[in-house]
Subunit: 226 residues, 2 copies
């Protein structure tokens, strides 16, 4: 989508060398701790793991969303890259199926990412730019896969979000005890996405409804203490 491709704004001004090193250490620690224990882990624990003081951490990342966005920026980039690869597949229906499998696998590999994928971070420009790129790519991929006649015509971009939400439920419940279960769910859903023999469905949620649903996930996943 060249019409939309303005350069990403820089995340923040360049840092002095030790400040940059601290930032890297904090991000690496946050990635580990978020992945192990979820997004609601205490900021103190992350500072401890990074070997920096809490004040240093807050200077770099004044709010929890700032830190979450920084920790998952690379993953959100990988998510956007997944749709770029899918668009390069000469068979768009195959590209679509591999794309759904890939993003659901990314959820299964890292539950923290599941939460992040469904949160908005208005101040994290690079993170949000990657999300936009992923969304626009998914819309194009769906259009191409429908054009082949293989993807059901009533499939929408919001259905991708719905599949991710369903997969998140299975991953959360079975991740420890039956960690391959998500593969069966996704295979079932992809069979239902095929145009052959498909029957009418209840209406899809609207884009604004799903966007509000994503925003709503924020508080419940980032604050467990009330």
């Amino acid at each position: 989508m060249p019409a939309h491709s303005k350069p990403d704004p820089p995340a923040q001004p360049p840092l002095r060398k030790d400040a940059a090193r601290n930032r890297e250490r904090i991000i690496a620690a946050a990635q580990l701790v978020f992945c192990e224990r979820g997004l609601s882990v205490s900021i103190e624990d992350i500072a401890d793991r990074a070997g920096v003081g809490v004040a240093t951490l807050y200077r770099r990342f004044p709010t929890r969303p700032d830190l979450i966005a920084a920790a998952f920026e690379a993953k959100m980039g990988a998510y956007a890259d997944a749709v770029t690869s899918a668009l390069a597949d000469p068979d768009p229906w195959n590209g679509f199926c591999r794309y759904i499998e890939r993003i659901c696998a990314m959820q299964a590999e890292d539950q923290g990412f599941t939460d992040v994928l469904t949160l908005t971070f208005p101040t994290a420009t690079q993170f949000e730019a990657a999300r936009d790129r992923g969304y626009r790519g998914a819309v194009k991929l769906i259009r191409n896969a429908k054009a082949t006649g293989h993807l059901r015509q009533d499939f929408t971009a919001e259905d991708v979000v719905m599949i991710l939400m369903a997969n998140a439920g299975v991953v959360a419940a079975t991740g420890d005890t039956a960690p391959q279960t998500w593969r069966r769910l996704v295979a079932l859903l992809l069979q239902a996405c095929a145009a052959e023999n498909c029957r009418p469905l209840p209406p899809a949620p609207s884009g604004p409804q799903m966007y509000r649903a994503l925003q709503r996930l924020g508080p419940t996943t980032t604050t467990t203490d009330d």
Copy 2:
């Protein structure tokens, strides 16, 4: 299943009249508060809503699981009844589809129930007897629906649990903003359950794996404070 139908043991010895009234008030309050605010709500808040002292509540329900099981005993009974109705349908495939829709609707109506459906309460004999009845009924319904040729032959009782987990993910994310989304997920999944044109799936999780997954959900849904 007459071979298994021993009478349910009484939940507890008969209570004096005022004690019985207190028990009813506590259960009614717990049903409301669990439904509104989830299973991790404080016991004090439930006692307040019931208009009884905390000591009175603890005398009747020494642990949180005791109270949860009592509050949801009727719902678990309704869940078991849903499969009984489905078994009475002269068309077992139709009965199967209506059953999946019904139990997913019960999840959508009451998120507290979603959690409870996937918890075990070894000391709550009536609650667990209803769960067993529901499970045995589901196994029979699946067998009957396969015999018609309409349900895919590789469908298992564990797939019902997987569908509930997926539905729980969608209900949790969209319940407030796009509350009909679960209907679309369930319709998609049921189309994939049809035997016509179905293709092989990754293996189903085993019964013991899914049982451990259900037990595992307990701590994460009942205690959010750690």
